[in-house]
């Protein structure tokens, strides 16, 4: 079995890499193709999942749609590729996808050694623990000897090892491939604890039959800045990825929404709004896009705040507060670079 799979996989990786190596202009490729290839997760409520109609929905998905709208003028021209924690980097590095928007933590080695460029932080997260209430555990420090379900190929795996080691506790890791399998194991109580990013825990819990039977422990044991990423070496494309994200954040700061964007573009008095929406200046051309690319991106799914509220916010089943992900003016960490 393996002897058959591996050479094929290797050959495929090399073959695709052959294409990837030859292309520098991701933007031109996307335009020529007329479709953006975007890697998302295999299913995590709120971030990327398929709804009853089979349409992809979620926070990570909406970023891809905004990017497609900015580049191609149409937010629906995206091909989504579901990836696991293990397959995501290969998918991006091999050129199978143009952008990876799959709640991926920005770390030094991923940036420097895996040769990726992070477009920015879309969601400030941290790793937490979820346990059934019946267990009577109130703090992560009471988890000595517990069996912990963990998604393999993620930073959470490493944080978990560090946390238990630092606190001189033992644990039994149960490595799991996808969020769905983790859910199955956790609900069958094949593990006592499920650990992943706190947002992911909230999202998983929202899909349980009895969400109130489970609690997320107060300890957050790591910083997990999640964001979209692209390959190293194509500066134009990474600039586009970065500034589409920034445009969504600036739009919220300036009060531009999907509904009023056209109106703001025509009537706003704020020069930065006019620059962003392309009414004045030719800033879009500097990254190879139309001058109104940000306007299209915002109209695709709204500004950052709208995307957040629709997918993760307090009125959804997931019910996450903005917390660290509020604008810097609201006490959060969202702080887009000036648009000039």
């Amino acid at each position: 079995m393996v002897k058959k799979i591996l050479p094929v996989a290797l050959g495929a990786a090399l073959g695709v890499a052959g294409i990837a190596g030859a292309q520098a202009g991701t933007l031109d490729d996307v335009k020529a193709r007329g479709e953006l290839h975007c890697a998302v997760s295999t299913g995590l409520a709120g971030f990327s999942y398929t709804d009853a109609d089979g349409e992809y929905q979620g926070f990570d998905v909406d970023y891809c749609r905004a990017l497609a709208a900015a580049v191609l003028g149409d937010g629906s021209k995206v091909k989504f590729t579901p990836t696991t924690g293990k397959t995501r980097f290969t998918a991006l590095a091999s050129g199978e996808v143009d952008v990876l928007s799959r709640n991926t933590t920005w770390t030094f080695s991923r940036d420097a050694d895996l040769k990726f460029t992070f477009a920015g932080v879309a969601y400030y997260d941290g790793q937490g623990f979820m346990v059934p209430k019946a267990l009577g555990v109130e703090s992560a420090l009471q988890l000595d000897g517990a069996t912990v379900c963990i998604q393999t190929g993620t930073t959470t795996e490493l944080n978990l090892a560090d946390f238990f080691r630092a606190n001189n506790m033992s644990y039994e890791p149960v490595p799991i491939e996808t969020n769905t399998e983790a859910r199955q194991n956790y609900l069958a109580e094949a593990c006592d604890v499920y650990t992943t990013d706190a947002s992911g825990l909230a999202a998983s819990r929202a899909t349980f039959e009895n969400p109130d039977d489970h609690i997320v422990l107060p300890e957050i044991i790591s910083k997990e800045p999640l964001g979209p990423l692209v390959r190293h070496g194509d500066e134009q494309w990474s600039d586009i990825a970065r500034w589409v994200l920034n445009a969504l954040v600036i739009a919220e700061e300036k009060g531009i929404t999907a509904a009023n964007a056209d109106d703001m573009a025509a009537n706003s008095k704020d020069p930065e709004v006019l620059r962003l929406l392309g009414t004045s200046g030719e800033l879009g051309a500097m990254i190879g896009l139309d001058k109104d690319y940000a306007l299209k991106a915002i109209k695709a799914g709204g500004n950052y705040g709208e995307i957040f509220e629709r997918n993760l916010g307090e009125n959804t089943k997931i019910g996450l507060a903005r917390g660290l992900n509020a604008q810097w003016t609201q006490g959060g960490l969202l702080y887009a670079q000036p648009y000039r």
């Binding site: 290797l10 990786a13 090399l14 052959g18 990837a20 590095a93 080691r165 039994e172 149960v174 593990c191």
Partner: protein, 400 residues
Amino acid sequence: MSVTTPIGGEEQRFSIGMLWTDTRYRSTTIQIIALFLVMIAVGFFLQNIYLNLQALGKDFRFDFLFDPASYDINQRLIEYDSQSPHWKAAVVGILNTLLVAFLGCITATIIGVLAGVLRLSKNWVVAKLMTVYIEGVRNVPVLLQILLLYSVFIEVLPKPKKAEPMLDGMLVATNRGFYIPSMVLESGAGVVLGVFALSLIGIVFFRRHARKVQEQTGKVLPVALVSLGLFVLPALLAFFAMGQPIGLENPELKGFNFKGGVHMRNSLVALWLALSIYTGAFIAEVVRAGIQAISKGQSEAAFALGLRPGRTMRLVILPQALRIIIPPTISNFLNLTKNSSLAIAVGYMDATGTLGGITLNQTGREMECILLLMAFYLITSLTISGVMNKYNDMVKLKER
């Protein structure tokens, strides 16, 4: 008359065209051309790798193997923690692969031989049951069987807090795995083990002696009885003489999980059982084919000589059937070993899970990890088939 010109002599001048037209050179020419083509293909792939790694800004080196792995592995046969280097994580995974392959090959053989023989049974129900087992299992992908067993284990078996120890506390089945007692060796245990080893050697010698006696005098010694006695009695005497130095530690519920004893995780058990049952079905067919290939005259001749059915099977049928059975069984062992790489589906940390999984993912060294992994599977497979071929040489027809 004149002397015959020696072939290829000076008169027949060598010309380039002869490389193709002359049958003496043609095969060499073709082989050299083929070799060149292969080398060009290999060179193309190597250059492709080199160029693409360069384009991605990646180099090709193995020093990541000495960095701390930073992740934990639940099942480890050797000392390992998250600060151990990546190579050690790979070794843990490799040992786990070898463990499940070893256990799997043994149980698959047992299941296969039993099912293969029983499928030939004259008892209609037994024979049909075995047919259902073989045809059912053989035609369903092994990955589904692994997942099915694992799901059954985690959904059906009780949680640790509700698990009831069975067999006087010796066995606990939970949805996290099975716990069996572990052996505790105290001082004096060495003597008992030594006596046991000596009695094993004694059994071997007695069997040789018995065979010699039978060949020389025709007298049949009670081999089975004496062997059993040698197997049990001296070790038992030593055990009590030394004051029972070998004890069993039963698993006990402490905190979240059972502690003490040996923890056989669901992932291991599910993988092991599924691989054994799946490969066992193939081996059963091989065994059946081997037995049916022996002509009926052989057993009739043996019966005519007065051999009982058991001896007929052991002394006449099986030695001949083994010649047919062993070569395809080797490939089934190899298949089992390679199929064990499906382990990740149930979270069993084999070589594919550590070296080809977490290490690959955390370091981003796809090329290096996959090459190492391929080398490992290649070496393992070659070793298994080497050993089995040796055994095959022992049983195969000796032609003089």
